[in-house]
């Protein structure tokens, strides 16, 4: 349903995302994980056509029969909020502070042709669907009268309003309290059509996604079904990431990945991970390609 081929994102001469390819089937839930600066959010924004000024995307991305890249803004905006929608990381600032919540939900429907009266009614239904208590009252509230978790539910209501084919969530629970996080994740898992879920939290991916893409240095370094990738990581970066998030016995040192993520444009040639990889050798100076069927990885010295 969504297919992305050779997606690259660059700012001026710096390539921030390189040659990312993946596909999402109808109803499939795919996780996109990696550290900050790995290019996850840019990948998502590129698909939405919402890259910041001065940042451009190349490659192809198709959602059903619609091209998403290299298409004029006028055509893209008809898809946004109707065929593909997005929930952002920061619920506190994502809503207009001067507009009632109900109007902000209704707006996404009137924009795509729903009559105003019907949109207002449906806005309340949607607020109910994302399990906000007393949806009628919430619709008349302003964003500052709601909690972070409630605002994120409002964002989800906006995203779901036009029954899109694909929902993109960019760290939707990172800014929320742990107790609220879990409810939010369950809700997303329940209501999402096809889902692209971006996070750095491996446990979150494991709980709601079927497949995972691991990004590092603007590239997909490993991809496959969650269980396989998590049980038997092949790329050394994935391995390190999993080791770092595993619970360790009391008193032992927390495993970490040595070094830190280089700034954009300063990743090494060849394998992007080789300056931090304990297994790196001369072979790693050549760029490994993502190979494998189902469970694929880009590494010259894969783990067993």
């Amino acid at each position: 349903m969504l297919s992305v081929e050779g997606l690259s994102v660059s700012a001026e001469s710096v390539r921030l995302v390189r040659e990312v390819s993946f596909a999402i089937a109808p109803g499939e839930r795919v996780g996109l994980i990696g550290e900050s600066g790995s290019g996850k959010s840019l990948t998502a924004l590129a698909l939405m056509g919402l890259l910041p000024e001065g940042v451009t995307a190349t490659g192809t991305a198709r959602l059903r029969e619609h091209d998403l890249l290299g298409v004029p803004e006028g055509r893209l905006k008809r898809l946004r909020g109707r065929d593909v929608s997005m929930v952002f990381q920061e619920p506190m600032t994502a809503l207009n502070p001067l507009m009632r919540v109900g109007a902000q939900v209704a707006e996404v429907m009137t924009l795509h042709g729903e009559p105003a009266a019907r949109a207002r009614e449906r806005a309340v239904e949607l607020l109910d669907r994302v399990r906000l208590p007393r949806p009628g009252q919430i619709a008349r509230a302003y964003p500052h009268q709601l909690s972070g978790g409630q605002r994120q539910r409002v964002m989800l209501a906006i995203a779901l309003a036009n029954e899109p084919d694909l929902l993109i969530c960019d760290e939707p629970t990172t800014a929320l309290d742990v107790t609220v996080q879990k409810q939010m994740l369950e809700l997303i898992a329940e209501v999402a059509p096809a889902l692209l879920f971006i996070t750095h939290d491996l446990a979150v991916v494991a709980s709601i996604c079927e497949r995972v893409l691991v990004m590092y240095g603007g590239r997909v370094v490993e991809t496959g079904p969650i269980r396989e990738v998590f049980a038997r990581p092949r790329h050394r970066y994935t391995e390190g990431l999993l080791a770092a998030s595993r619970l360790t016995p009391r008193g032992t040192r927390l495993p970490t990945i040595q070094g830190s993520v280089p700034p954009a444009g300063r990743f090494p040639d060849g394998c992007v991970f080789r300056n931090r990889c304990p297994q790196a050798g001369p072979a790693c100076e050549t760029e490994p390609t993502l190979t494998g069927d189902g469970h694929a990885f880009a590494c010259w010295h894969p783990g067993a």
């Binding site: 919402l50 905006k77 008809r78 929608s85 952002f88 207009n96 001067l98 707006e107 996404v108 924009l111």
Partner: protein
């Protein structure tokens, strides 16, 4: 919201009273006795005493203040010690002219600043957007009276298209009224417009970085559509603050511009009063100007609450 309004109103009333005390005290502290000014240096002590009794300036200051301030509340500004004519009607006449001048200048400033500021923000990377911000810098450096003199030189002296000064009441001839006010409006409006352009630009630039504009675009709005529907009202909150300050500045600026264009406004009345040592007249005009500034602040506070729901519950 109602509680907020009541509070703001209370603040307005209290600050007006305080302003009354301050204005009165300053005028009372000034050296110079109205009776001496009226009768000159050769007056006999008996005649002075008699006149002071007539003016009421022989009474204690508190009684004089109560008299004056109580009169103000009913629109009675007292009777001039110099001309013996009531001050209230003069002030009322002149106030109308000055308010017309200031509001006209503000409208022109807004007509310039809002489109230019928004344009400069949206095109902040393009040469034209940069040029607008640079030009507005130049505008800030020019005082209104200089702009007035330049405008007179170009439109009245060179082109002879507009009168260089004078004022015709609207009721006598609307056309002449407009022609007479055009240059004064422009000289106030152009300068204030330049200042305001910069504030509008930076307010819009700030708003353009906000997450909720990205949300609006994610819903399917275009760049300009998102800015129009969600950005401008948010950007207007800081602009309203500046607008309030500027109205106060304009009021003061009008005093000078009225001189340049020979317009019988409050500023003109104030300067005449000072020149003729008409203390009670000066006191009245200053009080009106102070109250006008307080009223502007009150309106700005109410405008905040109308614009931003977050402020309605608070304070």
């Amino acid at each position: 919201m109602i509680l907020y309004l009541v509070k703001r109103l209370a603040v307005l009333v209290v600050s007006t009273a305080v302003a009354g005390v301050v204005v009165f005290a300053f005028m009372a502290l000034l050296p110079g006795d109205p009776a001496e000014i009226a009768l000159g240096v050769n007056a006999t002590p008996e005649a002075l005493e008699e006149l002071r009794r007539q003016f009421g300036t022989d009474r204690p200051a508190a009684a004089q203040f109560a008299d004056w301030f109580g009169g103000l509340a009913q629109g009675d500004f007292g009777t001039s010690y110099v001309t013996s004519s009531p001050i209230g009607p003069q002030v009322a006449d002149r106030l109308g002219v000055t308010v017309t001048l200031v509001l006209g200048g503000m409208v022109i400033a807004l007509l310039i600043a809002v489109p230019l500021g928004v344009f400069a923000a949206v095109h902040h990377r393009d040469p034209l957007g940069v040029a607008i911000s640079a030009a507005s810098q130049v505008g800030i450096a020019i005082p209104a009276f200089l702009a007035g003199i330049l405008l007179v030189f170009v439109f009245a002296v060179q082109a002879q298209a507009l009168p260089s000064g004078g004022y015709v009441p609207f009721t006598e001839s609307p056309g002449e009224w407009l022609r007479g006010l055009l240059l004064p409006w422009l000289s106030l409006g152009l300068v204030q417009g330049a200042v305001l352009t910069r504030y509008v630009r930076s307010a819009v630039l700030d708003v353009m970085r906000e997450d909720y504009l990205r949300t609006a675009r994610a819903k399917g709005r275009g760049r300009m559509g998102a800015l129009w529907r969600h950005g401008l009202r948010n950007a207007s909150v800081p602009v309203v603050t500046v607008l309030g300050l500027q109205l106060a500045t304009l009021l003061i600026g009008a005093v000078v511009v009225e001189r340049v264009f020979v317009i019988p406004g409050l500023g003109d009345l104030l300067l005449n009063g000072v020149a003729g040592r008409d203390l009670l007249l000066v006191q009245g005009v200053v009080m009106v100007l102070v109250v006008a500034v307080l009223l502007i602040n009150f309106v700005v506070d109410v405008a905040y609450a109308a614009l931003d729901p977050r402020l309605r519950g608070a304070r």
